[in-house]
Symmetry: C2
């Protein structure tokens, strides 16, 4: 009977982790979060290391990533000297927010870069207005820029 529960937990870990990985987390980050989520209590680096069978160094680096994504929080508990981390619990909001923010930041940055290139092309086109190849290039840049703007708007829109 206890075996059944263990088996269920193992399966949840595997499947839940897969889903979390879809949000661009590496496998260990995913398992770490899944474990903390199921544990429902703060854990130390040593405990995580023991539970997942990975080095403490790996816990340290991966818990930091999760922390930067606001997926876990460091908490204090009187009398406990080690760092304690716990999983934040509003799954959907948590993952979609950090995921979309990443998209928006990256896409906006790419858009700006494309815009710069286009400005450069326009400047050169001023000097040689009859350069048909350059003209075509500028048009392509324009369509790629529109694409980037649509992507940014798309994700902004979903928040």
């Amino acid at each position: 009977m206890a075996d059944n529960k263990e088996a269920i937990i193992r399966r949840i870990m595997i499947e839940f982790s897969k889903t979390i990985e879809m949000f661009d987390l590496n496998p260990l980050e995913a398992r770490l979060f899944a474990h903390l989520y199921l544990a429902e209590k703060p854990m130390t680096l040593d405990e995580m290391s023991e539970a997942l069978g990975k080095s403490k160094t790996a816990m340290s680096t991966n818990i930091r990533s999760l922390s930067e994504l606001n997926l876990v929080t460091r908490v204090w508990k009187k009398g406990v000297r080690k760092d304690l981390y716990q999983a934040n619990r509003q799954l959907f909001k948590l993952f979609t927010t950090s995921y979309m923010n990443k998209w928006i930041d990256a896409a906006a940055h790419q858009r700006d870069t494309i815009k710069e290139i286009e400005n450069e092309a326009i400047k050169q086109l001023d000097e040689t207005p009859n350069d048909r190849e350059l003209k075509k290039l500028e048009e392509q840049l324009s369509s790629i820029l529109v694409f980037h703007e649509e992507v940014v708007a798309f994700f902004r829109n979903k928040k």
Copy 2:
């Protein structure tokens, strides 16, 4: 002057490819698409290989991935014996559609798997209704299932 155009093309390739990679394409797939998009004409595997400086084998496997994602299309041209591929051109629709479909498929599949595990837990809970740990596990499964349903709905909604 021709140098300027080359430089612009090179920069577009780099930046555009980065954006495409965000849609879960590997670097070569991304460069391949970017190149085909800028070329604005169908190309053979040998031409791509030459243009990107990578093996023909790599072209073959990566163009197939792009094709499966509906990002490129194989076309026929009278007199040309080799396979010809061209980039599809409605960037935004192309990328968002294939991206979201991938999300929806994967998330729905994960949801079903979680549902199965939950059914298993419920079945066991019928046999041992007083098992508080098992009860808690079932509740956790339920919340994870809700999460999955929200993810599926989220992406369905955006199409």
